[in-house]
């Protein structure tokens, strides 16, 4: 067998190396190959990844915290301490062999990443509901950069078009231009042509949204075999007008079809061509065919229904929607509920042929604005009422200004973790206020992320800022009041026993 081992000891001078040598020698004597990483005072000679990948098991003969333990995740291991590594190396090797024969210990099989592949957000041990969310988030996380690149290019195209055509009509004019004619005869001095070019490149990036979403959901489920049917299914979904909703369905469909085919027991001769020919061919055929002729059309109808519903929403209904989305954004600060609201907004951006004031853009603006509230509110609260917060929280508060301004809701998590009830209540209310106000002001946003840094791309930036400030003030006020009440209670409680102590003394 092949083993990798880590040795370390308090001073990092003697035992680290003695254990390493003892394990190597004992391994050799028993016919095993042991590669040791000594984490001692002469530095760490890291085992290369290939040796780790090839190893059957891991031996920890370490008295210190093992550095980079995650590299060995998912392999059977024994954890014996450095002394036994020195004194009883042969026995330790025997135990390691036994551990490998028993197989992977329960609970440690997770997190063994497919070597070299793109990361997923999938934890193999999670419950079904959690896994569905993780598959979905894998797809969404790979889609977001495309949305950012495409969305911002398109927004810049509209801004430039307004200048080039000399008026607000430019944003409409630029979409009517025959792009092929511009590519064939690009006028280097014509601003309008540059606007068309930005729009063209942005549109191409947007064209990948649904296939990437679908492809990486399937990748999350089935690993590499899922990619091809996932992308093909996503493209088929676009072709029949089923949009991102269809892309979600094809992603899951492709993932499970690819997983199913990749588990077929096939003859040895066929096994070699399974990953390059058989799986992609069959899974793409199945997923593509089903999408085009069976599931695509009803989903397309559903999409049109959703779009016309969003398009037909009146002012009050949009405000209500903003309130709900805001509450979702503020509720768990980057958790599942927050991600549902965010995914709803981002996938909405992928709808083709939206006008500049489409409901989808308003939703994106409301979601981003409300997602910025919690960290900014905590930052404000730590600034105005220092004594209510610990030293660590005040430090976090400084960082939270920047995190909030950049639309990273997670900036408020340290506060919520320390005092969930008060912080989440404040965040919930403040974010709802911001979501509703953003809708009321008709703020629009074409970029999926960016916080104040995409302010130039925001329709009605003043309204955007007012919405955020209002929500931040509300949330900060609530958290300060709630914490004051508790603070006073604690103070009263602390003074009371002291008082009795004095009287009894």
């Amino acid at each position: 067998m092949k083993f990798v081992a880590v040795t370390s000891c308090p001073t990092g001078i003697a035992h680290t190396y003695m254990a390493a040598e003892a394990l190597e020698q004992a391994g050799k004597a028993a016919g095993h190959e042991v590669t040791v990483e000594t984490q001692g005072s002469a530095g760490t000679d890291a085992i290369d990844d290939a040796a780790i990948a090839a190893a059957d098991g891991v031996i920890y003969a370490a008295d210190l915290e093992v550095k980079g333990r995650e590299r060995f995740a998912g392999k059977p291991f024994v954890d014996v301490g450095v002394k036994r590594g020195v004194h009883e190396a042969a026995k330790v090797i025997e135990e390691a062999v036994a551990a490998v024969e028993r197989g992977v210990p329960a609970g440690s099989a997770a997190a063994a990443p497919a070597a070299g592949g793109p990361a997923t957000k999938v934890d193999a041990n999670a419950s079904v509901g959690t896994k569905i969310r993780q598959w979905l988030m894998t797809g969404v996380s790979y889609m977001i950069p495309f949305v950012a690149a495409g969305g911002i290019l398109i927004a810049l195209a509209f801004m430039l078009a307004n200048v080039a055509w000399g008026g607000a009509e430019g944003a409409i004019e630029v979409t009517a231009v025959d792009q092929a004619a511009v590519w064939a005869d690009f006028d280097w001095g014509n601003l309008q042509h540059y606007a068309v070019a930005l729009l063209g490149v942005g549109g191409l990036a947007f064209g990948f949204l649904v296939p990437v979403l679908s492809g990486f959901i399937a990748y999350g489920i089935a690993d590499r075999p899922g990619l091809v049917p996932g992308f093909v299914g996503g493209a088929a979904s676009v072709a029949v007008g089923a949009g991102f909703l269809g892309g979600l369905v094809t992603g899951f469909l492709a993932g499970f079809v690819a997983l199913w085919i990749s588990r077929w027991k096939v003859a040895k001769g066929v096994r070699g061509i399974m990953p390059v020919v058989v799986i992609p061919l069959l899974s793409s055929l199945i997923v593509g065919f089903l999408t085009l002729v069976v599931i695509g059309t009803p989903i397309a109808a559903l999409m049109r229904g959703l779009e016309s519903w969003l398009g037909g929403l009146g002012g009050n209904q949009l405000v209500l929607l903003g309130l709900i989305l805001g509450a979702m954004m503020g509720f768990d600060l980057g958790g599942p509920v927050n991600k549902v609201a965010y995914t709803f907004a981002v996938t909405g951006l992928a709808t083709t042929g939206l006008t500049a004031d489409a409901a989808q853009y308003k939703i994106m603006a409301a979601v981003m604005a409300s997602g910025m509230v919690a960290p900014l509110a905590m930052a404000l609260a730590t600034t105005v009422r220092k004594r209510l917060f610990t030293e660590a929280e005040r430090e976090n508060g400084k960082a939270a200004w920047l995190l909030g301004a950049s639309f990273i809701s997670e900036g408020a998590i340290p506060f919520a973790a320390a005092d969930p009830l008060r912080v989440i209540l404040a965040s919930l209310v403040g974010s709802s206020v911001t979501g509703a106000l953003s809708m009321a002001f008709g703020v629009t946003l074409v970029a999926p992320h960016g916080g104040v840094w995409v302010l130039p791309l925001i329709g009605n930036p003043i309204g955007f800022l007012i919405s955020i400030i209002a929500g931040v003030l509300v949330a900060a006020l609530i958290v300060v009041v709630l914490k004051e009440i508790r603070y006073n209670k604690i103070n009263a409680a602390q003074q009371a026993p002291q008082h009795t102590a004095v009287t009894t003394a």
Binding site: I13, A14, H15, Y17, M18, E21, Q25, A42, H87
Partner: protein, 150 residues
């Protein structure tokens, strides 16, 4: 390497000591006299502090006290042969061969690599046997310096 890890005068043969502490004191004194540590008492205290964490007795009659210490000027090894044996807490009995490793508090990589090489050598029975068989300090020093030369 300008300063060898061990010199003949850092080897004490036929040591008669009551316990591990006495051996550590004798070897620390030798290191101080050879100019390898600034203060024998300070260094011995650091060694005992390390010994208090876990004992350093090895199977096969080896004691391996060691410390990283501010008092150490150059990485060094002092060796004591204790025919009667002193207890370093090894499971299989007292140590008759004691290695005291002195490492500077702020070590450079090369020096520490030499100590690492020495620690690896100490696992091998033939290395220990040859040291036991060595008649005097010069022979011990030669064997060690030979073994760890980079």
């Amino acid at each position: 390497m300008s300063t060898p890890l061990i010199l003949p005068e850092l080897v004490a043969v036929d040591v008669d000591a009551a316990d591990a502490n006495a051996v550590i004191d004798i070897l620390a004194q030798r290191l101080a006299e050879a100019g390898r540590v600034t203060d024998a008492a300070v260094f011995a205290t650091d060694v005992r502090a390390r010994e208090a964490k876990t004992s350093t007795g090895m199977p096969g009659g080896i004691g391996l006290p060691h410390a990283k210490s501010e008092a150490v000027l150059a990485p060094s090894l002092a060796v004591a042969k204790v025919p009667a044996g002193v207890d370093f807490g090894a499971p299989d009995g007292p140590a008759t061969l004691v290695f005291l490793i002195a490492a500077p508090a702020a070590g450079e990589g090369d020096h520490l690599k030499i100590l690492a090489a020495l620690a690896r050598k100490l696992v091998h029975a033939d290395f220990k046997d040859s040291l036991r068989a060595a008649p005097d300090g010069a022979a011990v020093a030669a064997i060690v310096n030979e073994a760890v030369s980079l």
